[in-house]
Amino acid sequence: MNPITNTLDCQSKIKPHVTRRRFLQSLGAGLMIAVGASPVLAQEAPQPRRSGRNRGGFGGAPVKIAARVHIAQDGSITVMTGKVECGQGARAEITLAAAEELRVQPDQIRLIMGDTTLCPDDGGTYGSMTTPRTIPTVRTGCAAARQALAAIACQKLNVKPDDLQFKDGKIACAGQQLSYGDLVSDSLDKAFSQLPSPGVTVTAVADWKVLGNPYLRPDRRDLVDGTHVYPSDIVRPGMLYGKILRPPSYGTTLTSIDPSAVKAMGGVRMVHDGDFVGVAAPSTFRAQQAIDALAKTAVWQTVPHLSSKDLYDHLKQNAQGGIPSNPYADDLPKAAAAVRQEYHVAYIQHAPLEPRTATAEWTGGKLTVWTGTQNPFGVRGELERAFNLPADSVRVIVPDFGGGFGGKHAGDPAIEAARLAQNLATPVRILWTREEEFTWAYFRPAAVILAEAALDASGAISNWYFVNINSGPQAVESPYRAGQHHTAFVPSDPPLRQSSYRALAATANNFAREVFIDELATAAKIDPLQFRLMNLDNARLKNILRTAADKFGWNNDAGKKLPNTGIGIACGTEKGSCLATCAAVSVDEKTKAISVTRVTQAFDCGPIHNPTGLLSQVQGAIVMGLGAALREEIRFENGAITNSNFGDYAPPRFADLPEIDVQLIDNRTIAAAGAGETPIIGIAPAVANAVYNATGKRIRQMPIRLTI
């Protein structure tokens, strides 16, 4: 069976402002479809439309069966979700979930994602929520669809539901067989117009036949033969290539500009509205030439701006409401052992390989935008507000795009493209340069973290103080037992535009905590693994720690350390999953360069939906986390980013690849949790702890460096 490819194709062949009803009619073998054609469905919005700024949100609300599943008369099955695919594996995972409940092979499902006109709003693709929230909704909708199909089959065959056998889109009973297409009827239509009934049950984990098996992304062939259509590949009739004039530094405003520089340039068209200056041209080269010419004439009003050397002092000085004091400070001097430390975590960039991009097209006052965003419904709202448009006049389409990592929530390029397209009355595509990405996209927040704790004579934690300044509250709460504890997140005055990143502040909080725990273990003169196990109550986390340590050979290695090598361990729990990471490092004696040679990571996110996708996520998270651990850091001076390219920023490459052993625990005793984020939070502290083991030097900052 051939996988269904080019999902976008079937979406882009239709007119941008087609209605959902007309689209559904076009599915299948081009026939009028009873399900799609009914007045009931035609009146149905794909999702309850909420007002306000937060559309996109967290999703998970039930939707009518017809908004989730469509069966065509030829039996072809279309499933719709507002979630998007940016490499994290949602397309494969949701396809498996739908196939499981519909009792078909995954390649029989056509999954339409991230189209605000065709798909229900399942919330933004962030926060590791596809697995815990969207998958159950999809499964319930598909299970309800299967039950509706079964009910009609029972009527037709005059049998009981228990007598039916489902296989690959066909229903058999006592020598008779019906395909799903045979069941398309007014009755099915009526059943699909309902919400799934509360009595609908999804397939028990023990009975899974599709979920839990390795599955490669359904559009896999398009990725290797170059035919996959990324957002930056969208071409519309008459489309021009747009560029925006950027200020030279943060906080700068435009005083004046001389447009005569571009007036003589053939084919270049300019839009100047206040601080917004953009051009569009028949080629990117010409548009860039025009912007470069304009930039030479631009006069800017600059303002003083912080530089990265002053970053951490600035964040501490501007902690909102001041830095909370340690309520147990008086107990520290009396304790058997006490440690007080401060940790720093740098600003970093997501730097997805496909830069931010959008193509905008206006048709009769309505706007269609193709863009790579993790939040299609949120971007639709941004566009409605930016252009003061009534509801349902904006369609956002998100082709599977080139990486997000928490960095593509906002609609900046969508608004830029729409603005140029509106003014110039022709479609415009915007594709940011790498320098724009590194300067004007938002960053993972920098952090200052203060940690203080006292130990009793047995090595138990008697009091615990842990404060994150600026980066966020995620995973700020400690999983370690403590007699008394005080944790807090304190916002500050961020000098750069900051927002989400894969696992949010859990990267910073877990780094600081797990290095701090190692320092406590050292103070208590207890092995770091033993210290963790004795101070943790969470049985799942302890199990994961033991698994990682065992597979890594923690106890074997400890006794026979070579000079300039070391091993470190870290663990963590966030968003319902647990991990433990062991790392081995070697340090160059002369240059002090750190190489990570071997990593073992154990991970438990509940029942595994797609082992192939999960392995990719965990391997990728380890290596991506290695970048932030060792090198990635945004440097800025007077408001300008000074390492705004891959050469200077130096993300992980093949040469950095350690030997990686991933241990996935298929824990079928709990509900499934997301896995796109948490696997990134273990590697940096494990490396820092290994560097201490190798050199005796504690590094309390990310990136971890032994040189200045």
């Binding site: 990725l223 033969d225 080629s283 390989l353 990728g620 991506m624 891959f646 093949f654 990686i660």
Partner: protein, 162 residues
């Protein structure tokens, strides 16, 4: 200044009138509509735009129209001219050596060039040879496996006809 350049792209002759300083990447994408070659950085730092020029791997973003004039260029679209995937395309697909997939065209073109020179590389040679190409999803483990899988496939790699 516009000039006319003649390219042989995936075995087809193409005559393009363009500014001689415009990049080959832009010509491929915007003039010839070969969208499988991707823009990642514009600086030769990431390899998303890797193509072959006269059989040698090259960054299309670092090649001007003037540089490419008269040359023979192979892009990802030229690797499977009859719809039969090249052994490396097949290996990347079967190995699941992609996450977002944006780097994959460049990775495959780099790997084809690597195996052309060294049909049976060690893992260390694969890493060194592939190092100019960046995968931001950091799926390097499976990419190394895919190159290894293609190299160890029993049948010889189909030649690109050079």
């Amino acid at each position: 200044m516009d000039s006319t350049v003649t390219l042989r792209v995936n075995d087809q002759r193409q005559i393009v009138t363009t500014d001689s300083q415009r990049t080959l990447l832009e010509i491929l994408r915007e003039d010839l509509h070969l969208l499988g070659t991707h823009f990642g950085c514009g600086a030769g730092d990431c390899g998303a735009c890797t193509v072959h020029i006269d059989g040698q791997r090259a960054f299309a973003c670092q090649t001007t129209a003037a540089d490419a004039d008269g040359k023979s260029i192979t892009t990802i679209e030229g690797l499977a001219p009859n719809g039969r995937l090249h052994a490396l395309q097949q290996a990347f697909m079967d190995e699941g050596a992609y996450q977002c997939g944006y780097c994959v065209s460049g990775m495959i073109m780099a790997a084809v060039a690597l195996l052309d020179k060294n049909p049976h590389p060690t893992d260390a040679q694969i890493r060194a040879g592939m190092n100019p190409n960046l995968c931001r999803c950091c799926g390097y483990v499976k990419i190394v496996s895919a190159v290894r899988r293609a190299a160890s496939a029993a049948e010889a790699l189909p030649s690109l006809g050079r």
